[in-house]
Symmetry: C2
């Protein structure tokens, strides 16, 4: 184990910019680590696409990160985590950290009445990745799952407190409100941006689970386990790569990251397909 | 000019399923024509992506259709029309019909007070394709343009009369309402799905322009001009190709087409990139 190995970056990928909420958590938990973010903005969103397409894209995204010599990969996208995590773990020897496992553990530690709600994209909820993981850990858990497809475009529009966002949240969360859940998993990395509205609509007594927080802890555990925790005292580098730089990109990216985004580099889609 | 040439299909492409509203218009105007639809559902939407990415995708989409020996190509996507139409016309000798030109002509014939509103995706409105075309035709036209990014996901969610859709429409259309426009161009092929809400919010006196209707007429003119109008008496074939078949696809596609979708074939993204 040499010095250079410990300084290898942690790679994070997402369908677009939602994963920046996870980068924010990683940067807070592991400030010294070098982070490389890859957002597939040319093909965003993944959450409305089929499993086979999402698996294909996730493999290409991970491959791009491995060309950067990353020591671990964080799948900062619940949709990709819900369908592609086992494929990625089979393919790579470095730690692969998805959103489902840490989110599930965090929720299980949090709930008192064993009634847990999950909100996510249509592909994530249809795959029932959280439900299966929760039930596997504890048969007596009651799970209530709901797809909220409009939350992603609302977050990307920056409508974090808009009346329409409340109306849509009321519609989506109505069923969950009736179930007396005490814990709600934000099963999409975009959703922390709408946490205030979601909290208000679902009620103060429901604890919201941001999988990114739990994922950051799991990343620390995993890279410690393989002896690659970066013990440098200086702040890590953050590099951002995307497949497209659309209008309003910087503004929205900074909303998600809660800090300025300096340089963003564009990667050609053809290059990641090779 | 032989019999077989006249029976060559008309190709239509879009970023996803929005273009099916144009297929509906084409099928009504030219019932005997064979139609081949290509929807790039694996990379939808285009409207939030950069010009260079949209041009690249449009070229790949058109190339796929030419492998089907189409006699004309309809760019049933306003975003692609707004950035890629001249590139496509330069590349291909067959007629290329976009949404901007027919929509503009239709709007100019419709307006009385010369105040025209345009709504579309962020990329379409930022490119000001409609504004430029309208002003070029008539310097005295007053144009009011507004991006409505949430209308696409709302249409795809099937929320055609939802309270939230009204709230969002009220927000988006507020500025246009103040301008005393008498004509409003639905500058995105998804928007006819939300026509009822849009009409109610913008007011009864404003005439909505569905570019698909005008585009279908222009297609007839163009294929007549080159002597390739299909004079068969039987109903044309309709073939549907997509790059991804996501959840709820059939249901949403039928909402857009207003008729049943039989077979949909999946095209691998790798194949269209070659």
């Amino acid at each position: 184990m040499n010095f250079i190995d410990r300084e290898r970056p942690i790679g994070i990928f997402d369908s677009g910019i939602g994963g920046l909420t996870v980068v924010k958590r990683l940067a807070a938990t592991l400030p010294n680590e070098n982070l490389i973010y890859f957002g597939d903005t040319a093909r965003v969103p993944y959450g409305s696409k089929s499993n086979s397409t999402v698996i294909e894209y996730a493999l290409q995204d991970a491959k791009f990160l491995t060309t950067k010599n990353v020591k671990a990969i964080v799948v900062a996208c619940n949709t990709a985590s819900s369908v592609a995590i086992s494929v990625l773990k089979d393919k790579y020897e470095i730690p692969i950290i998805g959103m489902i496992e840490p989110g599930t553990e965090f929720a299980l530690k949090t709930t008192r009445n064993k009634k847990i709600g999950i909100i996510g994209t249509r592909t994530t909820t249809d795959n029932k990745a959280y439900s299966k993981a929760l039930k596997k850990a504890d048969k007596n858990i009651n799970v209530f799952e709901k797809a909220c497809p409009l939350f992603v475009p609302l977050a990307e529009e920056g409508w974090t407190k808009h009346k329409a966002t409340y109306k849509i949240a009321e519609e989506y969360l109505a069923e969950l409100r009736e179930q007396n859940i005490d814990t709600l998993i934000l099963g999409c990395t975009h959703y922390p941006i709408l946490a205030e509205v979601i909290q208000e609509v679902i009620g103060k007594n429901v604890k919201l689970i941001d999988s990114g927080i739990a994922a950051a802890e799991l990343v620390r555990t995993e890279i410690e386990r393989i002896g690659l925790l970066n013990n440098s005292n200086s702040l890590g580098n953050r590099e951002f790569y995307v497949t497209d730089i659309p209008k309003k990109f910087k503004e929205i990216a900074e909303l998600f990251l809660s800090s300025p985004v300096k340089e963003v580099r564009k990667v050609e889609l053809e290059d990641i397909l090779r």
